[in-house]
């Protein structure tokens, strides 16, 4: 019995291959987008972990120079002699690979994942240790031992050899071993130029990259939801078409529970195949996008991730499980209906449409409740969880409200129509809504997600560009080694009346955190280029006259100090905050004060970094090298950095755009599948109209028009929803998750373009069903009127 029954159930898919394709492809697309994004995330996280395991980053406290990036070897020797257990590290880049030189004799046990292997491999030798991909990048001229456990983009060697490769005789930083002896002299006494960075601070890169991963995950989840709509829609229609078969099977003696079990097995079996395809597709998507993501993360946050993808259980199992759970959720309501369906119930498809229409009211009530809930959630609730609940209420509420809103609009259009064909057209469109509602909801989610995410990313880009303008306004940036060089540079530039912007900096501990203090020479450049999140009038005037400071958003949020509040900088000095500046991607709190105020606090510190305003950057650069004696490597062309940073950001756009196109493609596929599946049910509805004088071609064009009109209504609804989504992401989720807020910018042209894409997608989706309708044989249409039907 089971075999015969299963064979009968499966025969439905053989006879309806398009529906089978819709089911498997819908699930495959949903799983693909989710697992693809998860694959990227897990690869990146694995790379961070490998880097941490390789370098001991995040495990030990580190000593860095307060100014510049050089620690003289003498300082290291002095510290060791004074009893400080430190291990030297030299770090630099060669062929886009980060070279790390370590001293195995003094290194901490957790410093290198290789341990004894490292020792036996290269202690005192001219050999590097790297994974295969990195070894290839370094080229064949070096002696490299391949070790898969070394993080991608990193090569480790003996400190002497790495110094030789990098052409350096100084150190980058020192690792503080965990167990220090008691009674050692204070760090400030032995090495006043060094600062301690706790292991905790080093994890900030991971926190920053989390922002990027969260955005990707949100996108993946939205795409998964869109895919699930296809699955839900296909399952609904497949069950509808099989109601007759189910009734027959039961009347022929198949017990209900057997039928339920067999249907569940059948659908889950197909779902496993779909999810399996999805994982393969997800792998391909991730492999395609990963190089861009890797470049983005490296450029934005300095985080190294591998450019190659591994098949990790963490993402493919989650993709498979999510696919199956999603299917089970979509399946459960249909199974419930079968279980509750009387054996002698009518099997006419229309019954389903009527039943679905009756659910409209329930959906509308649920939509009203969910949308009303968003108001108190947005106004009164705090926390990341509340943010996500708000997001969920907004999206689900809007999706549920869509059919009712569309029905209302169509009723209005019908009321204002006189021509009988159009009156029929609007009424017929309204009648199609139950069958199309899931596909329309999927399109709504896809378009609004695109509007929301692209608004967020574009706002991020505008803010980022403005931030770059602000921070990279001086054409040249010079970093000197000593106070003498500092004075020489100022004298040289002063004599030529060139605007110079010295930057004094030091680290202090205040407000229970490490804060970077900056002393700046307030001038026109600051006034013209710095954009504040909040400010008092004439903020820079107050800073220039030593009467106020500017703080970055990170400090403002952590210390809850805003414009007008006093910052206790030392026991004797408290200044009000004149402005709060957005400082994107920087985890550290900052206070910016005037040069004079800074020098009053730290007279021993000389400016070692300078911004220089000039129209002839190349010429001035040569003069500085020749006449002041500053090394070429200490002068940075900021325009080039800006171009590089923008290029990095463009890569982020490639990732976002690719995901945008994929989501819209999935939604368009959902419409296509719904229209195709409904096509057979449509014949009895269209045959009478055809008989009354409308040609098949005319009916086909009307089908296309219907699809475009419905897509237009969806787009009109998606626009405010997408903007609301962007608002929640930028002003609630981002702040709750990362502590900084991005201003929202609107991009009307982009939205119109997206609307155009949605209409084209809907038109293309309706083309095949319309062509099928146009080519429907007259005998099929006439068959509708035959008595035996």
């Amino acid at each position: 019995m089971i075999r015969s029954c299963l064979s009968a159930l499966l025969s439905h898919w053989r006879r309806n291959p398009v529906q089978l394709f819709a089911y498997i492809a819908g699930l495959a697309l949903a799983t693909a987008l989710w697992s693809g994004v998860q694959a990227i995330n897990s690869e990146a996280r694995a790379s961070y972990q490998a880097a941490a395991a390789t370098l001991g980053e995040g495990q030990n406290d580190l000593l860095f120079p307060k100014h510049g990036d050089h620690i003289p070897q003498e300082t290291y020797v002095l510290l060791r002699r004074s009893g400080w257990l430190v291990s030297p590290i030299v770090s630099g880049r060669l062929n886009d690979v980060r070279l790390i030189g370590i001293d195995l004799v003094t290194s901490a046990t957790g410093l290198a994942s290789g341990g004894e292997a490292l020792e036996s491999t290269f202690i005192g030798s001219d050999r590097l240790l790297a994974n295969e991909e990195t070894a290839l990048r370094l080229g064949s001229s070096l002696d490299i031992t391949v070790d898969a456990s070394i993080a991608s983009g990193i090569a480790i060697g003996d400190i002497g050899f790495v110094q030789q490769l990098l052409g350096r005789d100084y150190l980058s930083h020192l690792v503080l071993l965990p167990d220090q002896p008691i009674g050692q002299p204070a760090l400030d006494t032995i090495a006043p130029n060094l600062r301690l960075q706790s292991a905790l601070t080093a994890t900030n890169v991971t926190e920053l990259t989390n922002s990027f991963h969260l955005n990707l995950t949100a996108f993946g989840l939205l795409s998964f939801a869109v895919g699930l709509f296809i699955v839900h829609s296909t399952i609904g229609l497949a069950f509808e078409q099989r109601r007759g078969m189910i009734r027959t099977l039961r009347s022929l003696g198949v017990p209900l529970h057997t039928l339920v079990i067999l249907i569940t097995i059948e659908m889950m079996m197909l779902a496993t195949i779909g999810a399996g395809f999805g994982i393969v597709l997800g792998y391909l998507i991730a492999a395609f996008l990963l190089p861009d993501v890797a470049a983005t993360l490296r450029g934005l946050y300095g985080a190294q991730i591998s450019g190659t993808l591994e098949l990790r259980a963490s993402w493919w199992v989650s993709g498979l499980l999510l696919g199956l759970v999603g299917t089970a959720a979509a399946l459960s309501s249909q199974i419930w209906r079968i279980a509750a369906m009387p054996i002698l119930v009518s099997v006419k498809p229309r019954a389903w449409l009527v039943a679905t229409t009756s659910r409209f009211r329930l959906h509308s009530i649920a939509a009203a409740v969910l949308l009303c809930a968003t108001v108190p959630l947005a106004l009164f609730c705090d926390g990341l969880l509340a943010g996500f609940v708000l997001l969920g209420c907004l999206l689900i509420g809007a999706a549920l409200a869509l059919p009712a809103i569309t029905a209302y609009i169509l009723t209005l259009l019908q009321k204002h129509t006189v021509a009988p064909v159009w009156a029929w057209f609007w009424a017929d469109t309204r009648q199609q809504l139950p069958g199309l509602s899931l596909a329309l909801m999927a399109l709504l989610l896809a378009v609004s997600a695109n509007i929301g995410v692209s608004t967020m990313v574009s706002s991020f880009r505008l803010t980022f560009v403005s931030f770059l303008d602000q921070r990279l306004a001086p054409e040249l940036f010079v970093e000197v080694n000593s106070a003498d060089q500092s004075v020489a540079l100022e004298t040289f530039l002063g004599s030529r009346k060139i605007e110079i912007l010295p930057l004094l900096t030091t680290q202090v501990t205040m407000l229970e955190q490490t804060v970077a203090l900056y002393g700046v020479r307030v001038g026109q450049t600051y006034r013209d280029h710095w954009v504040f999140l909040d400010e008092t009038p004439a903020a820079w005037d107050l800073v220039e006259t030593n009467n106020a400071v500017v703080v970055n958003e990170q400090l403002a949020r952590r210390a809850d100090l805003w414009v007008g509040d006093l910052v206790q900088i030392t026991t004797d000095l408290a200044l009000p905050i004149a402005a709060v500046v957005g400082d994107y991607g920087n985890p550290q709190a900052q206070i910016i004060m005037s040069e004079n105020t800074f020098q009053g606090l730290h007279p021993e510190i000389h400016p070692l970094r300078f911004g220089i305003r000039t129209q002839a950057a190349a010429k001035l650069r040569l003069q500085i090298i020749e006449l002041v004696g500053i090394d070429d490597s200490a002068i940075i062309d900021q325009a080039a950095i800006k171009a590089l940073s923008l290029n990095v950001f463009e890569r982020t756009f490639v990732v976002t755009s690719a995901l945008n196109v994929l989501t819209l493609g999935v939604a368009s596929f959902s419409i296509l599948m719904s229209l195709l599946t409904l096509a057979d049910l449509r014949v009895p509805q269209l045959a009478p109209v055809w008989a009354l004088g409308l040609t098949r071609r005319h009916l086909g064009w009307l089908e296309l028009l219907r699809s475009v009109i419905l897509a237009t209504i969806v787009f009109v609804c998606a626009l405010p929803l997408g903007l609301a989504l962007a608002w929640v992401l930028l002003t609630i989720i981002n702040v709750e998750a990362f502590g900084w807020q991005l201003p929202i910018y609107l991009f009307p042209v982009n939205y119109l373009q997206l609307g155009g894409y949605a209409l084209v997608a809907a038109f293309l989706a309706a083309t095949w069903p319309a062509v099928r309708l146009i080519s429907t044989s007259t005998s099929t249409l006439l068959g509708i009127f035959a008595s035996e039907r």
Binding site: M1, R3, S4, C5, S7, A8, S11, H12, R14, R15, N16, G244, M245, R247, T248, L249, R250, S251, L252, G253, V254, P255, L256, H257, I343, L344, A786, S787, E788
Partner: protein
């Protein structure tokens, strides 16, 4: 006794009111016997047939099929009875659209695990379906689809065959032809047959006739 109704009652709710459909219906049908059930529309004929086919349960009274009291059977046991003892032929054919004619005919027999290929071939030949075996139901005319439904019922070798207006959708000549074939095969197998019909001609071909008026046997 193959089928026995004893004081069977059935009613349906229509809003707040209760509409009686069958009232104290009692009759018997022996193996190999044929019975026509007649009556006006709404007189309860189909409901009686559904109860006899273990598709619905009566509100009161007892129904025995092959010695088993349907009112004492749970859903699973009733399903087993439909699978092994009873075959139904509906006015709307109720074929499985995704299976070929051949698969449809053998389907009920396959469910009970007793497919007799020779028997199926004989039935198909007798009903003129041999040329249609690889086609799907949608490619057949109404009369042909009804023959497939009858062939499916007979192929399962049931003890009791129940037919609800089996020729109601067919023209006179086709109806006559289908009925002839059905009766011939039923008599050959010794199956008891109950047919719900409006047609006096069909009723006249049966061993016995029962008339239902407002849910009661006249």
């Amino acid at each position: 006794m193959l089928l026995r109704f004893e004081e069977v009652r059935k009613s349906f709710r229509d809003g707040d009111s209760v509409v009686p459909v069958l009232q104290d219906v009692s009759f018997e049908l022996e193996a190999g016997q044929t019975l026509a059930l007649r009556g006006e529309s709404g007189s309860g004929k189909s409901t009686l047939l559904h109860i006899a086919g273990a598709l619905e349960a009566p509100d009161a009274g007892h129904v025995w099929v092959s010695g088993q009291d349907l009112t004492r059977l749970n859903d699973n046991r009733r399903a087993r009875l439909r699978r092994t003892e009873i075959a139904l032929v509906f006015q709307q054919f109720n074929l499985i659209p995704s299976l070929t004619v051949e698969a449809n005919i053998s389907f009920h027999a396959a469910l009970s695990g007793h497919v007799d290929l020779l028997h199926i071939e004989q039935i198909s030949a007798a009903l003129g379906l041999l040329g249609q075996m690889k086609k799907y139901p949608e490619a057949l005319s109404g009369g042909q689809q009804q023959r497939v439904a009858i062939a499916r019922a007979i192929a399962a070798k049931p003890k009791l065959m129940l037919a609800d207006e089996p020729t109601g959708n067919l023209d006179e000549a086709t109806a006559q032809d289908v009925l002839e074939q059905m009766l011939k095969l039923v008599v050959q197998m010794g199956t008891a047959l109950m047919v719900v019909t409006h047609s006096p001609n069909i009723a006249a071909r049966m061993d016995r006739q029962l008339h239902l008026r407002s849910g009661q046997l006249a």
